[in-house]
Subunit: 165 residues, 2 copies
């Protein structure tokens, strides 16, 4: 599959700020981060692109897991005791370490976005911002495999350093 030899270069469009200086003790999903405040400092050059954003209550953040190094194809997720196939988990160490979180948009102040439900480390480079649109992003009758009955634990389980290098 020669096509997969290509590579793409992306750059941060801003920086996500949160109360979490490290992965240790951090919520593992926005589920466990309800109400946790953060800010997104979008680079000044993208100011105009933020117009109309304030009409949306939730944003999808795509970001680079900057503390993540390398990856394993089998991982023991925070929410399980067994090893699982990497792509059946949300673990940060991935071939392309791109993270995805849905956060609540509280207020837009110029290029500074005030958000809540932040589950990322302070200083995380933001790659993209999209409006969260239930009609596009929500599905019914969803099966969640090994996570079934375990996802709720994200309300209290906290991260540790297992996915650091």
């Amino acid at each position: 599959m020669g096509k997969t030899e290509t590579s793409f270069s992306y750059h941060p469009i801003g920086i996500i700020h949160s109360p979490f200086r490290d992965t240790d003790g951090m919520p593992i999903q926005p589920t466990g981060a309800r109400g946790v405040p953060g800010t997104i400092a979008v680079d000044e050059r993208y100011r105009e692109g933020l117009r109309d954003l304030d009409g949306f209550s939730h944003l999808i953040l795509l970001y680079h897991f900057h503390l993540s190094r390398g990856y394993s194809l089998m991982v023991k997720p925070f929410l399980d005791d067994s090893e699982r196939g990497l792509f059946a988990t949300r673990a940060p160490r991935r071939p392309n370490p791109i993270g995805l979180s849905v956060v609540r948009l509280v207020r837009v102040e110029g290029t500074l976005l005030h958000v809540e439900d932040v589950d990322v480390v302070d200083g995380t480079p933001l790659l993209d911002l999209k409006p969260f649109v239930p009609l596009f992003d929500v599905r019914q009758d969803v099966k969640t495999g090994w996570l079934d009955g375990r996802g709720e634990n994200a309300f209290h389980i906290r991260a540790d350093r297992r996915f650091r290098s």
Copy 2:
């Protein structure tokens, strides 16, 4: 903001195949692509990482909008007649042209994933696969700004070439 001068290099982990050879006439969201079949050919080297995926009914695909060139900070989306701030839209021409779609996983056949609700062009490079988990990814009481009352048009409006170069 010196930190945003960094750049990250990602590579395709597979290729998404769909019936759409071009953006012309393509559904603009999975909403308008219900039942459209596609396959994802994951690179052989990631085979082990696909374990446990078959327990999930829906996947989040992150991919590179490979036909997209450049971007404007104000865009006229397929679903509106007015220009909107780029980050308040899902338009493919973005500073980092990363696309996100939730698709239905029908069957895993080795490294070939049979999916439905595919709204991307054939040959799109896949960057990441994540399980769709309502507890993590779904929010209630969502406001959708300018898209309010317009999102439903994604059921019939089709794309054109406006976001090509």
